[in-house]
Point group: C2
Chain length 490, copies 2
Amino acid sequence: MNEVTHIDKAAKTVTVKQLTDDSEYTESYDFLLLSPGAAPVVPPIPGLDNPLTHTLRNIPDMDKIMQTIQMNKPEHATVVGGGFIGLEMVEAFHRLGIQTTLLEMADQVMTPTDREMAGFAHAEIRQKGVDLRLETALSAAEFIPNITVASEDAGQSDQHQHLEGELNLTLSNGDSLTTDILIMAIGVRPETRLATEAGLETGPLGGIQVNASMQTSDPAIYAVGDAIEDTDFVTGQPALVPLAGPANRQGRMAADNMLGRNETYQGTQGTAICKVFDLAIASTGKNEKQLKRDGTNYEKVFVHTASHAGYYPGAEIVSFKLLFDPQSGQILGAQAAGKDGIDKRIDVIAVAQRAGMSVEQLQHLELTYAPPYGSAKDVINQAAFVATNIMKGDATPIHFDQIDQLSEDQLLLDVRNPGELQNGGYIDGAVNIPVDELRQRMDELPKDKEIIIYCQVGLRGNVAYRQLVNNGYKAKNLIGGYRTYCFAKA
Amino acid sequence: MNEVTHIDKAAKTVTVKQLTDDSEYTESYDFLLLSPGAAPVVPPIPGLDNPLTHTLRNIPDMDKIMQTIQMNKPEHATVVGGGFIGLEMVEAFHRLGIQTTLLEMADQVMTPTDREMAGFAHAEIRQKGVDLRLETALSAAEFIPNITVASEDAGQSDQHQHLEGELNLTLSNGDSLTTDILIMAIGVRPETRLATEAGLETGPLGGIQVNASMQTSDPAIYAVGDAIEDTDFVTGQPALVPLAGPANRQGRMAADNMLGRNETYQGTQGTAICKVFDLAIASTGKNEKQLKRDGTNYEKVFVHTASHAGYYPGAEIVSFKLLFDPQSGQILGAQAAGKDGIDKRIDVIAVAQRAGMSVEQLQHLELTYAPPYGSAKDVINQAAFVATNIMKGDATPIHFDQIDQLSEDQLLLDVRNPGELQNGGYIDGAVNIPVDELRQRMDELPKDKEIIIYCQVGLRGNVAYRQLVNNGYKAKNLIGGYRTYCFAKA
């Protein structure tokens, strides 16, 4: 293994250290490609420098983790950080039968998605028996080395066989926790040491700065991957997107350009997916948190509909969120969670967004349909129908995060069947009139109040909304229905 | 159940027959929607009018088929027609443990795909033990009613328990076949009787003619679904596309327009998918047969690559064909076959085609990637890379259907490892130099011949192609490799 330790831009040479014997030599270049990647961020928490604490970036890291598992026989693992790496580690520990705690400082895991979509992941993680603690950070760790190892020969329990010891963790809320292995997975930062020492420019977010040709501030040096700042496809702003897909395409384009072609990288949507036990959760484009922060004008819709024809075995609910500009119909972003067909729906939106399709055009998408694979009206078509209804003024939305702050002038109407309320719960204060009885019982509702309608997923609510509005009522329909409202709190 | 038996366009009324008592009444309309669907085509073959022969269009048809299965206890079924319905019936019979023969007049099943892609379906069907007979039609059927039923009490075999009898089939090649149930599934034609009797115009293909608003030649009458002729998205020509997705969207648009909106239907790509046992086979846009017939200028590429990261369990090969205009890069159509991720890849292309994306732009698609779901370079990206290589002149393709007609001035070079040739076969007359030895052994190849390179799927072939061309050789690479060549003959 060799490591490049220095770049001499003027001489167009690199210094290479041979790690076998620490000898060095100099190599010249016409063009140089930097792809040093990113390094795990380890916060300055006291006590992390111990043999039971690990980060995970590469295969040697994984080998060390597996060695610790073999040596220390952990009964309990703690993972800090609910991103891709953290979630995959939680699942891996769970598969090994190790009780696992996941600490996440934010109020949600999978921050590329919004809080209410992450709720599906929270429910799945907890359902598998993982101890998920949101809004909880690690404050300190203390390594307690083992003095004696229990001996089965001496009739002692096979508990506490740890060869190395255990960790006492102190959490931000004052709680403490004893654990046998600790994974720090709070994120990564671009690996820019070589580049900055060589005087190459970095961007406002700390990545190596490149132009659309993947060229750094030195025209003979290109850079790609997790180490660089690329351009956000939606906003045109700099972005750090440490994902494999963009890195791969950047590499191909940099190679072409170093050999005289003129390829340009066309921005990163941040399309991402994570397996969380039986669930997939995925996103592309901007999320609502980012749109709010940027002051972008947006609207959102939620649909929950079957991954394929419900009468064919194996269908699962796809919970889908679409963010769009309600004036232009521009697709801003999308998120999905569920046990089947999640990757496909986010891929469809990722293509449509990159192609500049509007939400209105999504109605017309002609996707594969046979009962094992889809529905004649796919999830995406349905989300587009709901969005277009709002844009055309055929529907007036209200959202899950407004339901707990209704005023005296609003009345909450649950249009599901009574059995659904009894079995699945309902929102406090709601009046129940099933949609099929609404035409007959409409006069039970006041015309001087705004009727806030909800059903399970939003479809019957829309039917009720049309009936009420056509009869002179003021009304709004809860987009995504009770299901969105519930999982937002999960 | 009521049946509309007559339309009076001038009076704006329909005559309705009540099927319970055959009484009739007249109903008036402001706007009328026709969605009578399509009816199975039954060719004028002698002997089809018997209790063991069925078509399948609706639930009552299925009930009759299931009744025949219960009554006649078939040991052998024959399905005529290898389209969606025929293939689904073959699978259903197979699941019931009934030996099945599939007769298809064409040289392939699933005619929306091209012959070489249908080869994957042929291999799957035969691997499951189904007796697939291509280029074989049904010429005649003879019903042999049962005279006596075997009696177990009398010690007779429980074979030939058929209550009703059996069929003797004569095939177009002179063969005969005895079968216990026969399904005619050779296709459908638009159900236009009501419309034509009312004087509504039909199109050149025999469907009810509508404009983009789904309006027939009578402005008060709209029509949708399998009964109409719609517009091909790629060619702009009339098309009969009896698929559920388009029908659904046409219905929504017709309803909007009948109530005063101005929605337009934006053409049909014919996106379709069929489950064939463990395999899915799907397509969108035009196939090569149609492009050839229309005289369209096109190029094609094949890739065979894993449905998700190969090191994660459950990955299957996606065999993918992309048809495009080699000058403009316009996407003309795509087909895919495999056991995982087929619907997703065709959906991606269906969106890209509808959005007017070019093959060059497909390189930049940013699709969901995590090892359980995809690859950092997805199938679609890879197909786009291959297509763009051809468009830029970085690769010179040769196709599977040209390999058996090489001239004296061409030399066939297999660049796979010798073990692959021994285990998986090779093309007659090929010289074998593994790609890793090519730089050293290049002088074994003649410079005055065109070197026709192939590997398993085309990737190593491209590496070899670049090496040869950079060293002054004339060369072509077999796109899709040996795998495409083999399945084209399946």
